[in-house]
């Protein structure tokens, strides 16, 4: 079987299920982090890569999702089964309101307005002590209950005996994979091609009869909704929700992942999330100048590989495959 034909996303997913079996809690922790950020970055890429809308405030929806799930599970005792989709719905609803105004502006003005809305959300999270816990945030978000897994383990071998954090990791994998599959369906649909047409030339799309603003708003809402779902998972994973989830540095972090991985390919942002998180873990243990290293990497990347890591890997692959065939 040709390597290229392998269902790579499925291979990665299956491999990811074996990470806890390596026996290191740290690896599981990192893998969980990567999975959530992969969803967050891919949701942003629906706007940046597919529609050509650069958002500087995508963390707003991530944060809204995190606070939604956190509040519902911690303060209202709502089950994860409801609190998780609620994160996506509420983030999507906010994206609808903010996006309504943002898509009326273009380019840098669009980007600045997304940032402005995100900072408003941050200010509210930071100051509204009674609800969000203000500066202190909301620690001790409970894990979803995994009792049923233990029950299942009595019948099915091999699924029992893990820590709660590991069960949550498996849950994350399943949910992130489902979301990514949905996102892939979306960008591969006629709707996705409309977005590509808009990215290539919005005016041209407009005069062939595409209601550009409505499509942009739809992309905005979908991106916000999926970011909210990622946020919902992250609050639990992080064992707490804090205002810095919504801060602009989070928005830039996810934008960097998307660019690093390559916004031209569907899996680029996930790759970016993986590489950035691993680099961060490694480099922070050697030096405190992580931002300096990151900046250098970005400069090299932007000039050397404008298609991001995924673009560079694709080019290398094509070249290697060509050489292999000739040999």
């Amino acid at each position: 079987m040709r390597l290229r034909r392998l269902p790579w996303p499925l291979v990665v997913l299956v491999a990811a299920f074996f990470v806890p079996a390596l026996g290191s809690r740290f690896y599981t922790f990192v893998a969980n982090d990567v999975a959530i950020w992969a969803l967050f970055a891919t949701s942003l890429n629906l706007m940046v890569g597919y529609t050509g809308l650069v958002s500087f405030g995508h963390a707003a929806y991530f944060g809204i999702g995190a606070y939604t799930t956190g509040l519902l599970m911690k303060k209202a005792g709502v089950s994860f089964l409801l609190a998780f989709p609620a994160a996506g719905l509420l983030a999507g609803a906010f994206a609808l309101v903010f996006g309504f105004f943002c898509v009326r502006l273009t380019r840098i003005y669009f980007a600045m307005l997304t940032l402005a809305f995100a900072q408003i959300v941050w200010a509210i999270c930071f100051k509204w002590n009674e609800v969000t816990g203000g500066e202190q945030g909301m620690p001790e978000i409970p894990y979803p209950s995994f009792d049923w897994m233990e029950g299942l383990a009595a019948v099915v071998p091999l699924v029992g005996g893990y820590r709660t954090s590991e069960y949550f990791y498996f849950l994350t994998l399943v949910l992130v994979a489902a979301c990514l599959w949905l996102l892939h369906r979306i960008v591969d649909s006629p709707f996705g091609r409309m977005l590509t047409a808009i990215r290539e030339n919005a005016e041209r799309a407009e005069f062939i009869g595409i209601n550009v603003r409505r499509y942009e708003l739809a992309a905005f809402v979908l991106a916000g909704g999926f970011a909210g779902l990622a946020g919902g998972l992250f609050g639990i994973f992080n064992r707490g929700v804090f205002p810095d989830f919504v801060y602009w540095t989070k928005s830039s972090e996810v934008l960097i992942m998307t660019l690093l991985g390559g916004m031209g390919s569907f899996h680029g942002p996930s790759l970016g999330a993986l590489v950035l998180i691993l680099l961060n873990q490694q480099i922070v243990s050697y030096t405190e100048y992580w931002p300096l290293v990151l900046g250098t990497i970005l400069v090299v990347l932007l000039f050397g590989f404008p298609g991001g890591l995924a673009g560079a890997a694709g080019a290398l692959w094509t070249r290697a495959a060509g050489r292999f065939r000739r040999a």
Binding site: T196, A197, E200, E206, F207, I208, G209, I210
Partner: protein, 235 residues
């Protein structure tokens, strides 16, 4: 009372920022007609088309479609009313395949134009169906742009300088295809510098110069009056 013309442009003044381009342009296109806007480069032909399409709304004046003023409406609305625009730069969506380019422009379910009918008109495109738009030649891109516009099932086709930059043989071929569209009853407003190409197709002619209409009449009247050609079109 006679029915209003399909399209009536009434005294439009259009400017890009401070630079005024159109000074009271008026023209009419009746259903089934092929009307040609002739004029040298930069006299306002493209701006007239863009104004009709809603891409640069006029400062003053009206654009009537079947009697109704549509000036100031967003372009996608105007497109859905039945006006199809083939811009001068003929740029297709380079990252979409030929088939996808047609697909994103599909409007008006149950209309006359389907992918199959478009391929009948431009057989070459059928072979290129799965090719990326960006790799097509200039002539193929022009065909695809026209085909894409037809997918919106327009009643009126605005063609902005379709012959520009194409090899003579391709221009000839294109003329035949536009003629075929006209015979099938499509109304066409054509902007051109290429007089011979236009006269082969046009029923009536407007000559534009410096943002004003300088001549209007039948193609025959234009052909017989050598002085107009000398005055406004000679280089």
């Amino acid at each position: 009372m006679t029915a209003p013309p399909l399209l009536a442009v009434e005294e439009i003044y259009t400017s890009y920022g401070l630079s005024q381009v159109l000074f009271g342009v008026s023209l009419e296109v009746a259903a089934g007609e092929c009307v040609c806007l002739l004029g040298r480069n930069g006299v306002g032909k493209t701006t007239t088309m863009r104004t009709i399409m809603g891409l640069t709304p006029p400062g003053r004046g009206r654009v009537r479609w079947k009697g109704q003023d549509i000036a100031g409406r967003p372009p996608h609305r105007i497109a859905r009313l039945g006006i199809g625009f083939v811009p001068e730069d003929r740029r297709i969506f380079a990252e979409l395949t030929v088939g996808e380019n047609l697909d994103v422009a599909r409007r008006g379910a149950g209309g006359r134009w389907t992918e199959d009918r478009v391929f009948e008109l431009f057989p070459k495109l059928r072979e290129l169906r799965d090719r990326q738009g960006g790799v097509l030649s200039g002539g193929e891109q022009q065909m695809l742009t026209i085909a894409r516009t037809l997918m919106g099932n327009p009643e009126l086709l605005l063609l902005d300088e379709p012959s520009e930059g194409l090899a003579p043989l391709v221009v000839h071929h294109l003329g035949e295809q536009i003629g075929r569209l006209k015979r099938e009853g499509l109304t066409i407003l054509l902007a051109e510098q290429n007089v011979d190409f236009s006269l082969a197709l046009a029923d009536r002619v407007y000559v534009v110069e410096k943002g004003r209409i300088r001549f209007q009449g039948t193609a025959r009247a234009f052909r017989e009056d050598e002085s107009i050609r000398q005055q406004y079109l000679a280089l």
